[in-house]
C-alpha cells in the first residue's frame, strides 16, 4: 500500500483493530490478520535506537553532504529511519528526537535533538 498524497508525511501507520504500528502501511495486519486497514499518524518524535554517520551520501541526497542516519523509536510505537544533520557527538542511543523538518519533495524526514 503506497502512501497517498492525502496522508500526512512523514507518518506511521496503526492497525484499526489491534494497535500494531509500522512505518510501512500493510494491506493486512501482520499481528491480528485484520484487513480493516491502517490509519496514518503524523510523526512527531521519539528516541534514538541507533545511528550511523553516512560519509558518502547517495545520489538522491547528494546535496546534504555527510549526514547521520538515525533509527528512531517513535512515540507512536514503531521505528523509522530519518536524517540528522548535526554533529553525531550530540546524539547517543536514547537521545530524545523530534521531527524538525520534512523535505516533502524528496520525502526525507529530518530529526533534531528534542
Amino acid at each position: 500500500m503506497a502512501q497517498t498524497s492525502e496522508q500526512p508525511f512523514p507518518c506511521s501507520f496503526r492497525c484499526r483493530s489491534c494497535d500494531y504500528t509500522s512505518a510501512v502501511a500493510k494491506a493486512v495486519c501482520p499481528r491480528c490478520g485484520s484487513g480493516g486497514g491502517m490509519s496514518p499518524e503524523p510523526l512527531t518524535g521519539g528516541h534514538v535506537v541507533d545511528f550511523v554517520p553516512v560519509l558518502f551520501p547517495p545520489e538522491n541526497l547528494k546535496g546534504l553532504g555527510r549526514y547521520v542516519s538515525v533509527l528512531v523509536k517513535l512515540d507512536t510505537g514503531c521505528q523509522a529511519f530519518g536524517v540528522f544533520r548535526g554533529d553525531p557527538e550530540r546524539i547517543q542511543v536514547g537521545t530524545p528526537m523530534v521531527v524538525a523538518h520534512v523535505d516533502a519533495e524528496q520525502h526525507v524526514p529530518f530529526f533534531d535533538v528534542a
Binding site: Q3, P10, S22, A23, V24, D50, V52, P53, V54, L55, F56, P57, P58, E59, N60, L61, Y67, S69, L71, C78, Q79, A80, F81, G82, V83, Q106, H107, V108, P109
Partner: protein, 389 residues
Amino acid sequence: MTKRVAIVGTGMTPSGTSAMPSWDLFATAAKEAVGEAGLPLSRIEALHLGNVYSDFTEAQTNMAPKVLSAMGVESLIPCARYEAACASGSIAFRQGYLNILSGVYDVVLVGGTERLRAVPGSVVQQAMATSMDLTERNAGLTFAAYWAYVARAYARKHHLAERRLQELLAHISVKNHCHGAVNGKAHLQRAVTLEDIMSSSLVAPPIRVMDCSPFSDGAAALVLASEDIARNCAKPVWIAGSGQASGGFSIADQADLSVNPAIAKAAADAFRQAGLGPADVGVTEVHDCVNIHEVVCLESAGFFKEGEGIHAAEERRTYFDGDVPVNLSGGLKARGHPVGATGAYQLCEIARQLRGDFEGKRARNPEVGLTVNVGGTGTAVTVTILRKE
C-alpha cells in the same frame, strides 16, 4: 517423479571485469557445464536464469530468451529470469531443482549472469540501492549504513568495543583473501593483511571499504538431472536439501538486526530434508557481501552459537584447514560478487569441492557441502545442501 536430483555439470567464467556482455558470459559458462555433463545441448529441457541489473547496466531486459539465443539454443524450450537481488542465482537453481523433483523435466540448465563494471560505479550503486525499501532509502538509509547498523547491533548485543569489532571483522576479510589468492577464477587474487583492512577508508562507521565485496562481472551455470540420467554422468553431486525463506523488507520493523530468522528457517528446512545438521557439513560458501554478514549467515544457520561466530576467523576455525571451512573460493570478498550469478558460483564451487576438483584451496575430503545465498537486506534467502553420495 524422481527421488533425487544431481548436479551433473558446472561452468564458471572468471569473476572480475569482462569485455563480454552478460549473455555471452552465460553462454560461455553454460557451454562448460554442458560439456562436463557429457550431454548434448539439445537435451536441455528448460533454462532458469538469475540476473538482476542487465536492464540498468546493459539496456537489456527479457534476459532469459536473450541468453538462449546467445547459446545457440533454438529448440523452443521454456525459460525464465529470476530477480531476487543477490539471491537470484540460487533461486533460479532451486526452481530448476523443483522442476526435476516434481517430474516435469529430467534435464534443466540453471545459473546466473551479471555485468556491472561496464558502467560507472555510481550507476551500479544506485541500481543496487533499489533492492532496499524506497521509503527507507528516501529517509537516508544506504546499503553501507544498513551494514553498519547490523554490525553495531551485533557489537552491542555481544558487548564488543568498536575497535575489537573491526579487528575481528578484518580477520574474516584476511581469511577470504587468503583463499581467493589461489582461486584462478577470483576477482581479487591477492592476499591482504590485517593492517590493509584496518587502514582502509571508513564508509559508514564501523564499516570500512575493505570490509565490503567488490562489484564483479561473471556467470556460472549448472546442469541438473534426474537420478536415472545422473547415474550415467561422470561425477554427479546430489542435492540433499533446499530451503528458501523471505525476510522482512522494512529494516526499521526488524527486532534484531544481528540475526536473520529467514536464514535460520531456510537452513532448518534444508537440514530436515537432508536428514543432517551443521556438524555433518564439511565445507560451506556463505554470503559475505560485507564481512559481518559471514557471521550472521554462520550463526543464523547454526554453525556457531550467537556471539561466537565472529571469533571463528581469528581462531582459524573457518580457514580451509579449520574445523568449519568457509568460503574457500574467497567468498564474495575475493572471488567477487556478480550479483545475479553469485548464488550459482557458490553452488558450482561446492560441487567441485565435493568432486575433489576445485582449483584452489580444498577442504579435507568433504562429503557434504552447504551454501547460504542472501538477497538485499536479508529479504531473499536460500540454503542448499549438496552431498557426494
